[in-house]
Amino acid sequence: MNYALASLAIPFTVALLTLLLQRRSEANPIVPAITVLATAVSLVFAGLALETQAVSGAVSHLNVGGWDSPLAIRLRLTPLKALLLGFVALIHLLTGLYAWRAKPKIARDYWPLSALLHTSLAALILSADIFNLYVTLELLSLSAVALVCLSGPKAYTPALYYLLLSLGASLCYLMGVAVIYGQYGVLDMTVLAGIMEADHSTRFALLLMTAGLMLKGALWPLHLWLPEAHTYAPTPVSALLSGLVVKGPLFILWQLWNNLAPEALAREMGPLFAAGGVVALVSGGWSAFRAPFIKTLVAYSTVAQLGYALMGLGLLLFLQERIYAVALWLFVLAHGLAKVSMFLAAGEMQTLLGSKRVTAMRGATQTIPITMSAFAIAGISLIGMPPTGGFLAKWSLLEPLFTQANHWPWASGVLLGTFVSAAYVFRAIALGFYQAPMSREPRHFDRVSQWLALLPALLVGLMAFAGQDLIAWMAGVTQT
């Protein structure tokens, strides 16, 4: 547990430190270095936490303040949580490196804000107290909105919508917490898991919390705020938002229904989630296909891909088979990596091609091949072609569906999803193969940034080669 806390405390401390260091208006050059270094250290600690946790396979608890349950806030560390801590740190590290290289220089407030975002995600992951989760959700939303605002006045409108909707969503969640506390008198999830009953109050409370979380997680049909916010944010921020921020509420949702809710309620809810997932895949994919701007395309693709995760969650609740949990979290990991790559590539394209439009990608395979490869490989993972991580996740969702004839119809959802994703991904890739206008001056690329965009794509692109071990390992990790 101390490793996990270290992974949380390090970015927290660094955030305060960098704020203290903000002396003059100009940026302090060591701030990015410190932040990135701290993220790397945090990643190491998360790795250590994962190692101890996965090796023992155990769940550890910490009652904050040393008080006994259910009075104290309890932190809970499971292998899955340790894995997510590491994932959060990894994505922060990648985007941090990119932001460090970014030209023009990113605003100096990016560094403390992103470190606080890291902190809030870590706190969210570790917490096992439904009210404490509310505070972490607010922390998450505020840091995310502040980060979106970094790109200046054009981002204010989407940021404000995001903030207001997010606040409304939090208060839906909080009302759910109030109902649960009224009913059971405790806030600790591990205690609640044992005593919740499938009555009307519980169901309504869970629904309220679910609505709030789905809004924050941009899960269909409550996703409308996402594309604008993700489009206008600075590039590294878009990557963080798509890769991580929407996954926080999803994680709470998963705990709520997988650990907390009585099985009868969970079974009831499963088909709804799964159906919502299918609709998200199709409608999000369609909007991505129609998107005029590169970043909007990538943002809508997040809406669509979250549909897979929602489908995994729904099928898990409905059919109560562990393999769907594996599929769900594989989707989250694969999508996170792919999305980071795609947004960083999209950002590179905007700077290098001088336009935000998808049509500006004409000839990109010739003018900016590395960036284009990053985009393409990440896109192929989103479609789910082998040997990418997206394929692995899709396979773990699809294959068990075929073991029983009455589950076959759900497979058509995956089929549709694949078609739609292929449509929007290849629409962009195809543009890259147009003959490039040769008159253009050769541009000066920052090779490092390009490779930084490519790196996560390569990771996710070859993920399935570790498929057998990864699925077996994830099956163990998602047990608790």
């Binding site: 068990p400 490039a436 057998q468």
Partner: protein, 499 residues
Amino acid sequence: MNWTNALPVVAVFSSLLPGLLIFALREQQQGLRTGLNLLGVTVKLIVVGVMLWGVSQGLDFRVEAPFLPGGALILHGDALSLQFVSLSAVLWMATTIYAIGYLRGTPLQSRFFGYFSICVSATVGVALAGNLITFLLFYELLTLATYPLVVHRGTREALDAGRSYLAYTVAGGTLLLMGIAVLHALSGSPQFVPGGYLASVPARHGPALTVAFALLITGLGVKAALIPLHGWLPKAMVAPTPVSALLHAVAVVKAGAFGIVRVIYDVYGAETLEQLDLTAPLIAVAAFTVIFASLRALQQRHLKRRLAYSTVSQLSYIVLGAALLGPIAAVGGLVHLIHQGIMKITLFFCAGAFEKTLGVHRISEMDGIGRRMPLTMSAFTVGALGMTGIPPTAGFISKWFLAAGGLEVGQPWVVWLFVVSGLLNAAYFLPLVYRGWFSIPTAEWPEDHQPESGWETRRMLLLPTLFTALLTLLMGLLAGSALGPLGWSQLIVAREFPL
């Protein structure tokens, strides 16, 4: 890992690695690029030679790595895979040389040859795949690696063709994935077994097996261009000619046809298919494709498009041969896998040479072309006669076995099918030959590039053409030799039908 394990891996990587390296090269580094290509070609040919010898001696080349639960990554060089691997290796060599000549002086060659090599690697992977999962992996890689080649020119027309190519093949790939997932849920993805591994699946899963078969064949049928899934193929003719050659003779369409053969013999097995009575629709579709595509070919005025429809028709020979489920028909289908490849690539090479040298695209422009380019036109004639099935060319051998196979399984109409098809082939190929040799050129050639060497066309375009034309003749003349494609096909069939 001993050397027998390593060889299948080397066979795949001998083109994959040069391909990846070529991406990193600058446009001007032509020498290095050619060197890398030829190095890969040489290594692959040697490896394939050794594996051919080994398999004929009963050696087993197999390597396995973990991939998915219940479905490892298996590369396995059995007799059937080597049939396809040898075809790819030999024709890759010919096409590489041809492409170097064809693309001289055009931009983006590094990108082209990079994808070209990956495409061949994917084909070899498809051939060597030891189970369905591995097959899927390389099959999808093939889809992706071929796309940049189809749209290589970067024109609107090329992009349109590319879009339709992707629409068909990605949809096909998804159906294939579904089919494989259905089978995987039933029995995992074990290694291909002659006679099929699904025989042990309980009979109550019959409906699932039927659905899976339909999904697999539809998915593969897209690449094998079974009508009505063939729409992408004629459009893809906008690609540079070496790509068309590769698509039609070696890589894409063959991967589909080969996949169908695999599914029929090594996944389901003749016995299971007969029990479930699944082949009748496939036979019907294949027979229809043979005739209908020939009729369509007759209507085409562009040389390459006519060749494309001819491919659609000829591919269904292979499918038909496999679907008839008799040993003699199987030999016919398998040997046609090779023969069609070599004959069709000859024809495409000729078409490309006409186009590059004289700017001839349309059939009407071919009048008297044999006087200007006699060697190329000779090669074209050999290919055309082969396609028509006139002895002593290779095409005759295929048709003979296919027709005899039809009789063997009690379906005499197959003989008539091939008679009609042969007449149609003659109807759309022989006029070209006649025009080329005997008509008088009506006007100036659209363009005329006389190479300085004094040859009728660029040397690198001519030599591969003559080489494959020669092969067409040799395969017909020496059909009786044990090491020819026919002998090898009989070896495969002997292992598939242990009678």
